[in-house]
């Protein structure tokens, strides 16, 4: 049942030695960092070269696209001044320049792939280190603007889909167990966002005093299996005691998605979560996880406008989103 891990992400925060942290950089220092790091990143000998987007100069829609693809944070999108992001063609690897720290390196993959993510981001870190000198102390490790990130400056996150825990009402207990393990639990787009579509982002809070490998291993061997176990047990309980209610949720979502004429992004996420559950419980033959992931992304506001090729206000988006879902899911035969 590891399909309830939607994605894995590993992030390293890095700062250039001999430079103030970003909030104390002058405008010219920020420009110096952005232009220097963008050149360095694009010139690295990676298997897949990276392209750089100057986030300051692109329009709001493009920034929103980057947020929806999890290539930049909301903070990075909304900040001011020289800043940008470099990412690989497959978008598994990205480096934000001038966010809270000078560099935020991340590897993002679908499903449970923490080691692969760590290997990839570590390789990027190794290559970068040949060109820049990081702020580092033997006592505190990699020095970061916020002391809560210092040490390994490693943040491991998994995006978990936990609809059954939500239905049984045991989600709070599970999240509390997570917090007892000193984990942070957030919504779909990270800090300060709500858990839409039963998606929860679970990440480590402590970064000092344990090695990178220990943090990754803990996630792989203890934390992720614990959440999978909670959710699996809730699903089994629901199937045993409230099967009709569970099936009703799945098939009701399926029909609404295939027939609605107007749909908000939030409702789409909510309903797509129910059919994700149905897919996982093998109730919806013909539907694939790839299609579901694609729809989850395409129904987001910026992607929807990109797809339609024009700017749309929220009510136009609602109609276009409903049509996209209706056409795509309506084409699948043989369900229900």
């Amino acid at each position: 049942m590891s399909d309830l891990v939607v994605s894995s992400r590993v992030r390293l925060a890095r700062n250039i030695g001999g430079m103030p942290f970003l909030s104390r950089c002058s405008d010219s220092q920020r420009s110096e960092l952005a232009s220097g790091l963008s050149q360095t990143l694009q010139g690295l000998a990676l298997a897949e070269p990276m392209q750089y987007i100057d986030v300051e100069s692109v329009d709001e829609l493009e920034r929103q696209m980057l947020v929806e693809r999890h290539l930049i944070s909301r903070n990075q999108a909304e900040a001011a001044g020289p800043r940008g992001v470099a990412f690989s063609t497959q978008e598994t690897l990205a480096a934000m320049v001038n966010e809270e720290d000078h560099l935020r390196l991340q590897a993002l993959r679908s499903g449970l792939q923490l080691e692969q993510c760590y290997d990839e981001v570590r390789h990027l870190d190794d290559l970068l280190e040949q060109h820049v000198s990081y702020a580092f102390s033997s006592r505190f490790g990699y020095l970061t603007a916020c002391p809560t990130n210092v040490g390994t400056a490693l943040r491991v996150s998994v995006m978990l889909h936990l609809p059954a825990l939500k239905m049984t009402g045991d989600i709070e207990k599970a999240l509390r167990a997570g917090r007892d393990m000193n984990l942070a639990v957030r919504g779909l787009y990270g800090e300060g966002t709500e858990a839409l579509g039963d998606l929860f982002q679970v990440s480590n809070q402590s970064t000092l005093g344990r090695s990178e490998e220990q943090i990754i291993t803990d996630f792989r061997d203890q934390i992720v299996p614990a959440f999978i176990d909670y959710e699996t047990r809730s699903r089994e309980l629901l199937l045993k005691t409230r099967r009709a209610a569970l099936e009703d949720k799945v098939f009701r979502a399926w029909s609404v998605l295939r027939s609605a004429r107007v749909m908000s992004a939030e409702e789409a996420l909510y309903l797509l979560s129910h059919i994700r559950l149905g897919l996982s419980l093998q109730m919806l033959p013909g539907l694939t996880i790839e299609l579901l992931n694609q729809l989850s992304l395409l129904t987001q506001p910026a992607h929807l406008q990109q797809l339609s090729g024009k700017r749309m206000n929220p009510s136009e988006r609602g109609e276009y989103r409903a049509k996209l879902l209706r056409d795509t899911l309506g084409a699948i035969k043989g369900v229900g």
Binding site: G17, M19, P20, R24, S133, R139, G141, L143, G151, T152
Partner: protein, 161 residues
């Protein structure tokens, strides 16, 4: 009107609406009863609160006046923003940061992970660079251009080293 906690009657600070089996259930609880029910809303380590507590102590009040002579921030400014100004702050504010680091990192205060290949020799050089960049900023601001050029040359030398 203040809503009372439905369990103990104190002022409720947490208001939750849950849908359980199609039934809407509203709960109004104080923090204490909410904790007992297993309802938590504090996601992040309350950084501001940890610092607030620290500054209440006598030693804390002394620390509040510490200032980094490289980036210019003092401990109070750090407290307000939650962000440090430069790598040198970890040295200047070390004492004040220790309790915070230990709270945030499960008691740990020593790095045990990866070390950059260039570590050792760079710490001294990096601090020198930081200091020079701050002097350069001041020199430009006070229109001491000759001095600024000298500093810039020294920065270039250090960067190549």
């Amino acid at each position: 009107m203040k809503i009372k906690c439905q369990k103990c009657g104190k002022e409720a600070t947490l208001h939750v609406t849950e849908i359980v089996q199609g039934q809407k259930i509203e709960k109004h609880l104080c923090q204490h009863c909410a904790n007992q029910e297993g309802i938590t809303i504090q996601v992040q380590m309350p950084l501001a609160q940890v610092l607030e507590e620290l500054l209440q102590t006598a030693a804390g009040r002394e620390l509040a006046n510490l200032r980094c002579d490289v980036c210019g921030i003092n401990f109070l400014e750090f407290r307000q923003k939650g962000l440090l100004g430069c790598p040198n702050d970890y040295t200047v504010f070390e004492q004040a940061l220790m309790p915070l680091l230990e709270r945030a990192h499960e008691g740990a205060s020593q790095h045990v992970g990866r070390v950059p290949g260039s570590a050792g020799e760079t710490e001294r050089r990096q601090n020198e660079l930081l200091r020079l960049r701050s002097e350069l900023k001041d020199a430009v601001a006070s229109e001491q251009y000759e001095r600024a050029v000298q500093i810039r040359d020294r920065i270039k030398e250090l960067e190549v080293e």
